[in-house]
């Protein structure tokens, strides 16, 4: 109901990791769905507090690895058995053990590249503009402060009530995030 809000949301600033995790849990329990926590280092406790779903990054790694491995193996089979067979003293053309090192390397290469880029794409990066960058003090999110965001598009979002709610979580400050 608040899709057309002129602002992106409300943001609360915290000093400690424990506080932001606690605040995230309370916010989620209060029924807000479109929320996010911003921290200067990884805080696995937030996954649970925010009810984050399991992500698909490992699957991308797996698929990338399988594709790279199959490509590597069959490229060598095609080259050595079909396209350019060389008879060396009657040794078998399909000498699969000698294909393993390159198969292994291409499995790792493909899994790593797919996984790293897949992670970035799932995260929506690169995204050089984001409304959060307009928030006051937000440059501290990459240094020493923790933030909790409630987006204005949340169905429960009411500017005054939500501001009051965030204030009740004892943050350092609460501010509006312009769009």
């Amino acid at each position: 109901m608040n899709i057309h809000q002129p602002m992106y949301g409300l943001i609360a600033e915290f000093d400690s990791a424990e506080r932001v995790v606690e605040a995230a849990r309370k916010t989620r329990e209060a029924g807000y769905i479109r929320i996010d926590a911003l921290s200067p280092f990884a805080l696995p406790e937030l996954d649970e507090a925010l009810h984050l779903p399991k992500n698909r990054v490992p699957l991308i790694f797996l698929i990338g690895g399988i594709c790279g491995g199959l490509f590597g193996f069959f490229m060598q089979v095609y080259s050595c058995v079909y396209s350019y067979p060389i008879n060396v003293g009657g040794r078998p053309l399909y000498s699969w053990p000698t294909f393993i090192p390159i198969t292994f390397e291409l499995t790792i290469l493909s899994a790593g590249l797919c996984g790293a880029f897949g992670m970035l794409i799932l995260n929506g990066l690169p995204q050089h503009y984001h409304p959060l960058f307009n928030a006051p003090q937000f440059d501290l999110a990459s240094q020493n402060k923790f933030f909790l965001l409630i987006e204005s598009s949340d169905s429960k979002f009411q500017l005054d009530q939500t501001r009051e709610f965030l204030g009740s979580l004892e943050p350092v400050s609460v501010s509006e995030v312009p769009r």
């Binding site: 390397e105 690169p126 050089h128 503009y129």
Partner: protein
């Protein structure tokens, strides 16, 4: 609300992180090396020397392109010479970076946090130096892409059954994955620099490379699992790359090369020389920028312990090589042993024994492991020793193989030395630039460490 200030996490002091650090002090301290501190006279002096060596390198390489590999000392029977010695030496040095960043991460070793970033950078630069040599050694380096499988009008393929072709894949995969791993680790720190930098051009550049990172919990969740899996992928790479380099030798029939012990013994040697290089770089780095709170004596001591362990494995490798050469009863293998210790190149062999077998034994003593000066000297000795090891393996086996009529000698030329020291300069130059433009210690992981230690 002001009650919160007492809740700010402060480290309580531990062997891997000094007391009294909170999120802002670690951030400011590490970022200031890049953003605020002047480069300083030692840095400028080192930079000038490195630049000079790079100019020597470009001269040597230009002359090589003009005249061909004949300017080097390589000839028949010793056709591999400095190029392959230097290749194996550099790629070995690179191994500690990935070992620290991947294996120690999987084993949850806290002490890796403050040394992984510059060790990974060291890996990248060492791989870049290593990669130059096989290409320069090609004879026709402009045809380097013939090494890769690609559709071509000659209807030819690389020989996939050859360890030399495996090497192309192993080294290029290693370089690529190390770069990706390093960059992924850098993203949150680039965001920190973006938010802290004052000049607009620096903000823009850091911002561009930070990809718009904002530290969202959703991003961190995917990021952490991707980082873990990249570490899991890089760990077997550490073992595979130098194993394949070992197979380059083991697959040949020469006495002293044709040995199944090569892959594991090469991997141990690689980690040995890599940790020596970590110490060579960490000791001046922590001194020049006052990072003793983060790179503590414990870090140096742990590197020294790993150097001792891998050094013992390497010593076992030498013993096993000599023993099996004797046990084989094979005339040529037995002669290889004699030739190494008493032949034309005996000096290199005994220098190698001194540097790699005797000198690491000092690391049994705690006062040596905790003495910054002694560790620095030992780390240089080990690197010299590991270079000598490759010299002994390559040259002594090639110069005296089976038929006395095809024996010969190898004399490196001035251009060989110019290229070797040129790459040392290139490596140093890359590293010096790196410490001035990127955080040499992972800031986000240091904050995590503060959080963990304060709890």
């Amino acid at each position: 609300m002001s009650a919160q200030s007492s809740e700010i996490a402060v480290s309580r002091g531990s062997p891997v992180l000094a007391a009294g650090h909170d999120y802002s002090t670690v951030t400011d301290k590490i970022a200031s090396v890049v953003l605020n501190q002047k480069s300083g006279l030692p840095w400028q002096f080192a930079f000038a020397i490195a630049l000079l060596l790079v100019m020597i390198l470009t001269t040597a390489v230009s002359y090589l392109f003009l005249r061909g590999v004949g300017i080097w000392g390589v000839d028949i029977p010793v056709a591999w010479g400095f190029a392959i010695i230097n290749f194996v030496w550099w790629i070995g040095i690179g191994h500690a970076g990935t070992f620290i960043s991947a294996m120690l991460y999987l084993m949850r070793q806290d002490w890796r946090t403050s040394i992984n970033r510059f060790a990974e950078a060291m890996t990248l630069f060492a791989v870049a130096c290593a990669g130059m040599f096989p290409l320069l050694h090609l004879g026709r380096p402009w045809e380097f892409f013939w090494l890769l499988p690609y559709p071509n009008t000659m209807w030819l393929w690389p020989q996939f059954r050859s360890p030399l072709v495996w090497d192309v894949f192993a080294v290029s995969t290693y370089g690529t994955i190390s770069l990706v791993f390093w960059y992924v680790g850098l993203i949150p720190d680039l965001a920190t620099l973006r938010d802290k930098a004052k000049p607009s051009i620096a903000r823009k550049l850091y911002g561009w490379f930070a990809l718009g990172w904002r530290g969202s919990a959703r991003h961190w969740q995917r990021y952490q699992i991707a980082y873990l899996l990249l570490a899991g992928l890089a760990a077997p790479l550490v073992v595979s790359v130098h194993s394949v380099v070992g197979m380059d030798f083991a697959a040949a029939q020469l006495p002293g090369w044709h040995s199944t012990i090569f892959p594991p013994y090469f991997v141990a040697g690689a980690i040995f020389s890599g940790f020596a290089m970590v110490l060579t770089l960490a000791i001046p780095l922590r001194w020049a920028y006052g990072l003793q709170d983060f790179i503590t004596i414990r870090h140096l001591e742990n590197c020294a312990k790993l150097m001792l362990v891998t050094g013992l494995v390497v010593a076992y490798g030498y013993a096993a090589e000599a023993f099996y050469g004797w046990l084989s009863g094979n005339e040529f293998d037995m002669y290889m042993n004699v030739n190494r210790g008493l032949g034309n190149y005996r000096v290199t062999y005994w220098v190698l024994i001194f540097c790699n077998v005797i000198s690491p034994q000092f690391l049994w003593f705690q006062f040596v492991r905790r003495s910054v000066f002694l560790l620095f000297i030992l780390s240089l000795i080990v690197q010299l020793g590991m270079w000598m090891e490759r010299f002994v393996i390559i040259v002594t086996s090639l110069q005296r193989d089976f038929l006395p009529s095809s024996w010969g000698m190898y004399y490196p030329t001035l251009w060989d030395y110019a290229t070797l020291f040129g790459t040392v300069g290139f490596f140093a130059l890359c590293f010096l630039i790196f410490v001035r433009i990127l955080p040499a210690i992972s800031i986000s992981e240091m904050r995590e460490l503060v959080h963990k230690e304060a709890a």
